[in-house]
């Protein structure tokens, strides 16, 4: 569980690390250029604008990454599996600008406004949670699938905002799980909706009955679905 601090831009294949090590980018760029075999690696860049480039879609499902003072990853390619991704400590220090892969947990940052975990999601995120900083959303724009959105603690630090895609379960905290909805029709897992679905949603297709903790827009209708067979 050592901490490796970069002193120059580096590629993964030249780096000597062991499972559960921490990599402090220290403002440099780390290019992951081949499929890693270490587990539980933590990548950080506290107080500096380190970046990570993914050369391909690798299995990093046990890895965690937290942005520093800049955007950590520009594009997470399709085929990537990432454990957790967290926004950073400066304004707009996104965990990633665009996700095309699969992420288990995406969380807004703690020290900078708009420091979302994922600025735009076009892939799959299991849980998107708002951060503790103002407008540090878990995911700013969802065009893909988020299984569960959870509101954060910072002002307007929604789990997800600008939702064009699918959010199947949502849990409001002091902050809404989903800030802005876009489609007038949504498809959700009813038992998992513990929070507010807002206008312009007018039609809710719910797999299973809606949770008693759901708040729905006035005049909206719910159509309950069940799996055939």
């Amino acid at each position: 569980m050592a901490t490796i601090t970069l002193a120059a831009n580096t590629t993964y294949s030249t780096l000597m690390i062991m499972s559960y090590d921490t990599i402090d980018l220290a403002g440099y760029s780390l290019t992951i250029d081949s499929q890693p075999y270490e587990d539980g690696i933590l990548i950080t860049s506290p107080g500096s604008a380190g970046t990570v480039t993914l050369s391909g879609g690798y299995d990093l499902s046990t890895w965690s990454m937290t942005a520093g003072t800049g955007v950590l990853i520009a594009i997470i390619p399709s085929g990537t599996e990432l454990g957790s991704l967290t926004g950073g400590s400066a304004t707009s220090a996104y965990g990633c600008s665009t996700n095309n892969g699969t992420i288990t947990t995406c969380t807004g940052g703690s020290g900078g406004t708009n420091a979302s975990g994922c600025n735009t999601n076009r892939g799959t995120i299991t849980t998107c949670t708002g951060g503790s900083a103002t407008t540090a959303q878990g995911c700013y724009g969802n065009q893909g699938l988020i299984t569960t959105a959870v509101g954060g603690t910072g002002t307007s630090a929604f789990g997800v905002t600008h939702n064009y895609g699918y959010v199947l379960n949502l849990t409001d905290s002091a902050v809404l799980a989903v800030g802005n909805w876009n489609s007038p029709a949504v498809f959700v897992f009813g038992p998992g909706v513990v929070g507010q679905i807002k206008a312009p949603v007018v039609t809710i297709y719910s797999l299973g009955a809606m949770n008693a903790g759901a708040t729905l827009p006035v005049g909206s209708s719910v159509i309950t679905l069940s799996v055939c067979g």
Partner: protein, 357 residues
Amino acid sequence: MSTITLTENTTYSTLMILDDDIIDLAGYLLTIDSEPGETGISITSPGTAGTVTLSGGYDLSSWSMTAGTVPLVVTIPAGTVLGSVTAGSDTNARGCTNNYGTITTCTGGSGSNAYGCNNNYSGAIITTCVAGTGSNARGCYSNYSGAIITTCTGGTTTSAVGCHNNFGTITTCTGGSGIGTAGCNYNYTTGTITTCTGGTNTNANGCSYNYGVITTCTGGDSANAAYGCSVNYHTITLCTGGSGTGSSTTHGCNTNNGLVVTAVGASAGSAAFGIKYNYGYVWNITDTTRLSVDIWYSPTVFVFGAGIVGEIKAPVTTIYSFGAMNAGATLPVGATVTTLSTGIGLVFAGSLTGGFQ
């Protein structure tokens, strides 16, 4: 057909005019204070700041009015029937500022922000709004709830928009011949539009930015990227690719962030999809020569299985299907289909609010 040039502020009832005469306001105010008996009168004020005041709702259905350098009529009252209103040559020189009446044609001017008819309120009825040649010279600007427009047409110059900001009812929006010339720009929550059709130039979209309800979006039929609807955030019943040829990308809908009930690919056109970029919901698709939906984003989709007569592509991996999938569906390799039912034997009726019968 003589031209009467005013030399001071005047009322209609003191004016000596004959059918088909032209009144040049010459910067003065003409007050129409009684129902005119003459037909075919043209009112103009070229290069000057002439204005018209309507004391009541008169039948001026054969009259035409063109602004000079300022807004011509502040308020067109309810009960007025007017032939044509055209904006003027200077910035903000609108045909009218507020309209409650019935107008055959509103045309934008040559000045910047010179709208033909500005602020059309409940009760207003306009047959045609046509963009002008000035920057942002819309045919009609702000059509409020309860106001009705039959046709909005984009113009010949770049970004010339027929109707901007609709909260009311519009039947047809058609892109123009200039680049970026939307028939209708910004349809809001209460707004309804029946048909949006692409024009004949790049981004000469039928409708741009929909936050309301549109029935049909059809791409244009020229060799350019003229979409039926450019960006949808709410509801469109049908997006159909246009029949443009050559290098055309006359998509029915370019970007869907809301709900499209049915997408249909074009039967002609080099790459005219029903929807180019789908971030939202599409319930039925029918591929023809071209795909209904070109680029999908969400790995999960919710569709009406019987209505899938075409290809759903990667990155879709999970398909929730209301009812069994159609035999004409092509799905991504490895995708799973979960068939859903309401459990009470109901059949989807295809209404915009997803009602069942």
